[in-house]
């Protein structure tokens, strides 16, 4: 494999930026508040010196960058996978302490908000993983989320059953995926075009029905029940992480399960191997008797139903009603998370968490009156994705046959 200078260069640049931050960081301390209500072991608030943290991060990053150059130039080996994420975490830490200098950072609240924002992103990115791994580009994640959000609100309102709403959301997402599959597989239409168009179609239909159907009788059609949080016994008592991860609605627990199951199925089962084979080289898969079309339909629709459930999080998990275009581009960020997470369910979920964090940071910063424009925080997922697909941070390669129609001959 050809060795690339890109990663060491980027790491060096980021490390240099961290040094700049440390050099110009304001003196003083940042108070970190861990405590949340109901902790068994109340943790004290910690004061950290901004200088110490930023310099610690900067020096560590310099050392890591030096190590990366050492590997590249002396050992002639390619960069290691964990370097970039560790770099990212250190950089975020340094930026955060600087931004919060002289203020209090409530860690639990910050993380809770990030997770809420990340839930639909994670479901969406799982849908993307399942369809791209089987060789179909899924731009329609946004449409699947929106369909799930709409149908879950409608059905849950009509039947007063929150679980029926959730199931309908899954079906709605799968139906959008089915349309994508039929056009992409049967009619061999360009997958990207179908995806973009489906997003607009779903937006048009949900907006239309929102104005005509729901607008006529909000109480009947658009007042679904909402999931209550269900604390997990014991686990919810863990300091800091307990209230963040385990005092959540059932949809969130479903999300943990989905991430694990999708990862396991894709990489540890026979069906998963077939899915990946179809996504890499459908002709070879076909030759050994794997049913390419059937595998593609199934994987796409399972993914679609996951995205639909993710969409239900907007209505049944958060807002408690459907609103026009309420997914607001989450599907595209999920797509970004999937690419940034290199088509792996676990990494995609982590990337989605990172994006949720950067999106949530604007609220945290608004509370302490920071002047960092929220636009730049919101831009982060998109900018990172561009950097990722441009191959600046390691090599990002999707499934080989993703985006290509397979015509059985």
């Amino acid at each position: 494999m050809k060795l690339s200078n890109k990663t060491p260069i980027i790491l060096a640049v980021v490390a240099f930026l961290a040094v700049l931050i440390a050099a110009f960081a304001p003196s003083g301390t940042t108070e970190i508040k861990f405590q949340a209500e109901g902790d068994l072991l109340p943790l004290p608030n910690i004061d950290v010196s901004v200088m110490a943290v930023t310099w610690f991060a900067a020096i560590l990053m310099l050392l890591l960058a030096a190590y990366s150059w050492f590997r590249r130039l002396v050992q002639k080996r390619s960069s290691i996978a964990w370097l970039s994420p560790v770099f990212g975490v250190l950089f975020v830490l340094s930026v955060l302490t600087t931004l919060y200098a002289g203020k209090t950072m409530t860690l639990t609240a910050l993380l809770q908000g990030s997770l809420s924002l990340a839930v639909p992103l994670i479901f969406g990115s799982l849908a993307g993983v399942l369809s791209e791994r089987v060789g179909v580009v899924n731009i329609a994640i946004e449409g699947q989320l929106l369909a799930g959000a709409f149908c879950s609100a409608l059905v849950a309102s009509l039947t007063h059953s929150i679980w029926l709403g959730l199931i309908t959301a899954g079906i709605a997402g799968a139906l959008v995926a089915l349309v994508l599959a039929v056009f992409a597989i049967r009619y061999v239409v360009d997958q990207i075009i179908v995806g973009v168009v489906l997003n607009v179609l779903v937006m048009g239909i949900t907006n239309f029905l929102f104005s005509t159907l729901m607008g006529g009788n909000l109480a009947l059609f658009n007042s679904p029940p909402r999931f209550d949080t269900m604390p997990v016994p014991l686990l919810s008592q863990i300091p800091v992480l307990g209230p963040v991860l385990f005092v959540q609605t059932p949809i969130v627990y479903l999300m943990y399960l989905a991430v694990g199951v999708v990862w396991f199925v894709l990489f540890k089962t026979r069906w998963g191997l077939r899915v990946r084979a179809v996504g890499e080289y459908p002709k070879a898969a076909d030759t050994v008797g794997i049913k390419v079309y059937r595998t593609r339909y199934m994987s796409l629709m399972i993914g679609g139903s996951l995205a639909g459930i993710g969409g239900a999080f907007f209505t049944l998990g958060q807002v408690g009603a459907f609103g026009k275009e309420m997914t607001n581009g989450a599907g595209y960020i999920a797509l970004a998370a999937l690419i940034f997470g290199r088509w792996n369910p676990l990494y995609a979920a982590l990337a989605a968490l990172l994006f949720g964090f950067s999106e949530n940071l604007q609220f945290g910063l608004a509370i302490i009156g920071s002047h960092v424009p929220s636009e730049f925080l919101l831009m982060l997922p998109y900018a990172l994705t561009v950097i990722a697909v441009a191959g600046l941070v390691g090599k990002v390669t999707g499934p080989a046959a993703s985006g290509k129609a397979y015509i059985k001959s």
């Binding site: 056009f183 239909i205 900018a383």
Partner: protein
């Protein structure tokens, strides 16, 4: 003879539009309260339901016609002919951006970034239009050029990334759309573009000396941008069909490997294709900011980035086809306003009809199977 015509591309496009309008009609009928109430006693008096459906669908499409082509109910002559000018006013930016995407599609590049390139064009043109004080003869061309340059710049970054790193242009352009929208929203909150003493994200009005002339007078939104649109159609036709550069673009679209072997610089052409494509989207941005909008807001690109994709597909990436499709969708936009006002049909029906059209066009076998037309026997 007729069956031969039906198998052609144009016929398929027309049929696709027809089917989509039928689907739209079904939705309109389903959502109509009179239809819903008369459906409950359908078995007793079926004619009630049928007439309710007819009234709902005919009323909506009649309003669409009155809003986009000719308003026979208007009191004045001006009012009668205003709808068609509204259609053209909408068609202008849609067609311009659609031409840009058609150039990219023909060259094998999926430029989904129309929105971002329109926004960048509008930012550049807007800044020049607000901040420079020059006579019209200098100011106007300068503002248009700035917009075209802005779009081209934003587009060529995508081409450059693809040429140097192989980054997939679809992903990059989608991400750039969001980055452009967020940048615009930031600029409109800072003194760079925000009008002084204004808390809303809106810029100062564009100076009159930078605007497209409103050649029909102040009562019409249609402006001289429509001539720029026609010129752009001719220019793109010339570029794609008669110029060396266009030949290279098309060669790239047909088979990049063959183009490389033939001595065409692939990387350079990626950048050039995206620059031309972005420039046309930037021109659409100028039509918005220097033509119809008057000052810069976050909604400057409207839905024209998506419209442009559909227009390019419907027009089969042919400049004249794009013009026809642009006028059709301009008409849909203009008519939808009247349809909403007079019949209460939400404007979103346009999105539904529009995306249906693209789906049907993209899948000719589907349309053929609906109308039971036999496919052309293609040589193996």
């Amino acid at each position: 003879m007729i069956s031969k015509f039906l198998r052609g591309n144009i016929a398929l496009s027309v049929l696709a539009v027809l089917v989509s309008f039928v689907v739209g009609g079904i939705l309109i009928a389903l959502s109509d309260p009179t239809v819903q109430s008369s459906a409950s006693y359908f078995t007793a008096r079926p004619t009630d339901l049928l007439s309710a459906i007819w009234n709902a669908v005919f009323g909506a499409y009649d309003a669409l016609f009155r809003g986009s082509v000719f308003n026979y109910q208007a009191a004045t002559t001006t009012g009668m002919f205003k709808p068609i000018t509204e259609t053209l006013a909408f068609a202008t930016p849609i067609t311009m951006a659609g031409l840009g995407l058609a150039v990219a599609f023909r060259s094998g590049l999926f430029n989904i970034g129309g929105t971002g390139q329109i926004i960048f064009g509008a930012i550049f043109a807007g800044w020049v239009g607000i901040n420079l004080d020059l006579p019209w003869i200098l100011h106007f061309p300068l503002a248009v050029l700035a917009g075209v340059f802005g779009g081209a710049l934003f587009g060529s970054i995508v081409g450059l990334l693809k040429a140097t790193t192989g980054a997939n242009e679809v992903i990059v352009t989608i991400m750039f759309n969001y980055i452009a929208a967020l940048l615009l929203s930031y600029f409109l909150k800072t003194p760079f573009l925000q009008a002084p003493h204004n808390i809303n994200p809106i810029s100062k009005p564009i100076l009159a000396s930078a605007k497209y002339p409103a050649f029909l007078g102040p009562n019409f939104r249609l402006h001289a941008g429509v001539f720029a649109m026609l010129a752009a159609v001719a220019l793109v036709w010339w570029l794609l069909n008669r110029s060396t550069l266009g030949f290279q673009f098309r060669a790239l679209g047909h088979n990049p490997s063959a183009a490389r072997v033939a001595g065409i610089n692939i990387g350079l052409n990626y950048v050039l294709v995206m620059a031309v494509s972005g420039a046309l989207a930037g021109l659409a941005g100028t039509s918005q900011i220097l033509g119809t909008e008057g000052s810069l807001t976050t909604g400057v690109a409207a839905s024209f980035g998506f419209d442009a994709i559909t227009v390019a597909l419907l027009g089969r990436n042919n400049p004249f086809g794009v013009l026809a499709a642009g006028i059709l969708f301009g008409g849909l936009r203009a008519g939808a306003v009247t349809m909403q006002a007079s019949q209460g049909v939400p404007i979103d029906i346009v999105f539904i009809v529009q995306s249906m059209i693209v789906l049907f066009i993209a899948a000719p076998p589907l349309v053929r199977s609906i109308f039971r037309i036999r496919a052309k026997v293609e040589a193996a």
